[in-house]
Amino acid sequence: MSFWSLMMADLKSIVTDKAIAITLFGGVLFYSVLYPLPYLNEVPTKQQIVVIDGDHTSLSRQLIRHADASPKLDVVGQLTTIDQAQQWVASGKAHGFMVIPENFRRDLIRQKGVTLAYGGDANYFLIYSAVVEGLMSVGIDAGKYVQFNGLLARGSSAKQVKHDLDPIKLNSVPAFNPSLGYTPYVVPGVLLLVLHQTLLIGAGILGAGQWGRAGYWQQASPLELILARVTVFALIYSFFTCFYVGFCNYWYGVSVQAELAQVLLFLVPFILCTAVAGVAFSCLFTRRDLPTQVLLLISMPILFVSGFIWPLELIPSPLVWLGQIVPAVSTIQGMLQLNQMGASWPSVVHFWWQLWGLALVYFMLAFIGVRYRLKAQ
């Protein structure tokens, strides 16, 4: 059996096997829509809060209006006690509250300190941070407003007053993901993981369905079979990867910084390594429904070990080492640095070499595995 016909036979069994075709073509398309779907609005806005106004003065009302005007907040009601506010939070009608103390305006004008109290539902960190950030800026503005007027009244010039209130400017700017959006945060990593997982599943089901049965795969040597299979999967996944890294990143507004040639160069060992790993992985199974299950269970851990959701510094090092054997982990780290954070090629090249090294190891494992499986029949 020639190499070419072996490849064609592999391709045919991939495309005609419904379980594999659904996973590969259906899964890749489906997940490119489904995973980013919840995050399309990027940032949480208009979080409902309630206000407990103990002051009822022009200033406290102004504060409430400012809170309502903040893009992060939406004042949905005014209550009288903190207990009521907690009930609103517990019933989901509000996610945070602000307490304006009695004599708020009077104390401020008399230059006595006042305390504004904020509470937010910390079950949802994104909501909580939106509520607190929104209220903090509103509160600081209110204080500044009073100080500004007070200092003006005492005869300082407006320019001088502004300077006195802000002697130093803290210019804090997000880098790499300027909108602080959730899609650019999650999508580039998760899509690479989807490629990795679907490829492994596809190769796994294909192998598991063939070992121990008669077919074209027996007419080839282990080396030929591995090379043909890796070539076929690599070719299919070149298209998928182009679709994900090229189109989806663009479509979801992910910031892309690397040069095209470098991205292509980086992804070559990723695709090859994952394809070889897929063939090696398939030798572990003879039941077609198992590869999917194993990969499903390890996909969340792989995502977390990649270190863009929970920082690597905080993950116990044995888990980080264990993650190094997964092609997706070094790929996600390398691609994020190269493509999203604009790192230079030399600073990510160790990921690249690691992928080649993994490819070599998995190739040897695949050879041992396939030889065993073909002999066993």
Partner: protein, 388 residues
């Protein structure tokens, strides 16, 4: 019925993978994920410092940053190397203390301290941004205090002047913003749901694989199904109970309500999972495809729970998809019980939200009858073959 349950237990015992799914895999999974997040609070994250001023005040500000538990300052000589370290994710933020910072402050100019934080790693970046600003603002306040004192303001008044509006911030239900409290429960619930789905799908698929579908129908479709439910529901609830024990008893995370409600809610969630798996099983009738399809459906359950990204800010389509996932119904109850100590009345309302799953029952009956007819008509040939 006893015999049918025995049949299920026998099947479970003779399927090593299935046995693994109900025994050590959940243990390893739960322990592994907990270990991953066990740090709980982000601490000592590396931050690049470029001190171009090298003055007393710039060093004081760096000491302020060092004092923060979240920040570990790492000095860089120039901005380019600091930038490179950020691009390599060796540092997650960068603070530039500009040349003549001290001089500008003394001569009444307004210097500006540049902070850049890695928002590609959103969680870390946002945290560092707020912590760096807090630390620096605090350091600068002590300078401003001296200035006020020098201008003749009495100490008590000077302190008030600096903090005219103080703020008191309460993180409700998670007082120190611990990530174990925030992230671990939904992650483990997502894992539990995946395990439940796999276990049930495997149990059904086994009938296909060993070609015992006919035996099943002969024994009574419903009775065998009940036996499966009676065997696997307690086993999975046991895993759920293990998760709860780890979180709220061993780790001692705050728990306002009672376990009873949570376990009941888990049973309801599992019944919903069973209905979904049954529908897919009777629809596809091929073990690999059943698993693939269930996987496609259940794998993205975690982002749709609405814990990491709030439900109300999802697009409408995502909110509908969310309702398809039993875990998103359950998580509402979970948060309600754990944080708000919700009443039983609220729980009943939440259970009612599962009503749409009941619509699956007639579909399952219809599909099952079709499968039964097909199985009976091709008695000799193996049904649900593994062939592609």
């Amino acid at each position: 019925m006893k015999q049918l349950i025995k049949r299920e237990l026998h099947a479970l015992w003779h399927d090593p993978w299935q046995l693994a799914l109900v025994s050590y895999i959940p243990l390893v999974g739960i322990f592994g994920l907990w270990w991953l997040f066990s740090a709980g609070l982000p601490r000592q994250l590396p931050v690049a410092i470029v001190d171009q001023d090298q003055s007393q005040i710039s060093r004081m500000l760096v000491r302020q940053l060092t004092a923060s538990s979240v920040i570990t300052p790492i000095h860089y000589q120039d901005i380019n190397s600091a930038k490179a370290s950020m691009e390599k994710a060796e540092t997650y933020a960068m603070v530039v203390l500009p040349f003549q910072l001290n001089r500008d402050l003394l001569t009444g100019h307004q210097p500006s301290i540049d902070i850049r934080y890695n928002s590609q790693y959103l969680l870390v970046g946002k945290l560092l941004s707020s912590q760096i600003q807090l630390s620096l603002a605090d350091g600068l306040k002590s300078k401003a205090l001296i200035k006020q004192l020098a201008a003749g303001v009495p100490m008590a008044q000077a302190e008030v002047n600096l903090n005219l509006v103080k703020t008191q911030i309460s993180a409700l239900y998670n007082a120190n913003s611990n990530y174990v409290v925030f992230l671990l429960p939904p992650v483990l619930i997502a894992l539990g749901q995946l395990l439940a789905m796999l276990v049930f799908a495997n149990s059904l698929n086994r009938e296909l694989r060993l070609n015992t579908l006919q035996e099943w129908f002969a024994l009574g479709t419903r009775r065998v199904l009940w036996a499966k439910i009676l065997v696997y529901t307690p086993l999975i609830v046991l895993q759920g109970r293990l998760i709860l024990t780890l979180l709220y008893q061993y780790l001692g995370l705050p728990l306002a309500g009672e376990f009873g409600q949570l376990l009941l809610a888990q049973i309801v969630m599992l019944l919903a999972v069973w209905l979904l798996v049954l529908t897919i099983f009777f629809l596809l009738q091929d073990s690999a495809r059943v698993v693939s399809f269930c996987t496609a459906l259940f794998a993205p359950a975690f982002p749709f729970m609405g814990i990491t990204f709030p439900t109300q800010d999802m697009p409408q389509l995502a909110q509908w998809w969310r309702l398809l996932m039993p875990s998103s119904h359950y998580i509402d109850t979970h948060v309600g019980v754990v944080s708000y100590g919700q009443s039983f009345a609220t729980f009943t309302q939440q259970v009612v939200s599962y009503w749409a799953y009941l619509l699956l029952i007639p579909v399952i009956v219809f599909l099952a009858r079709r499968v039964k007819r097909m199985t009976n008509s091709i008695t000799v040939q193996p049904s649900g073959s593994e062939a592609s």
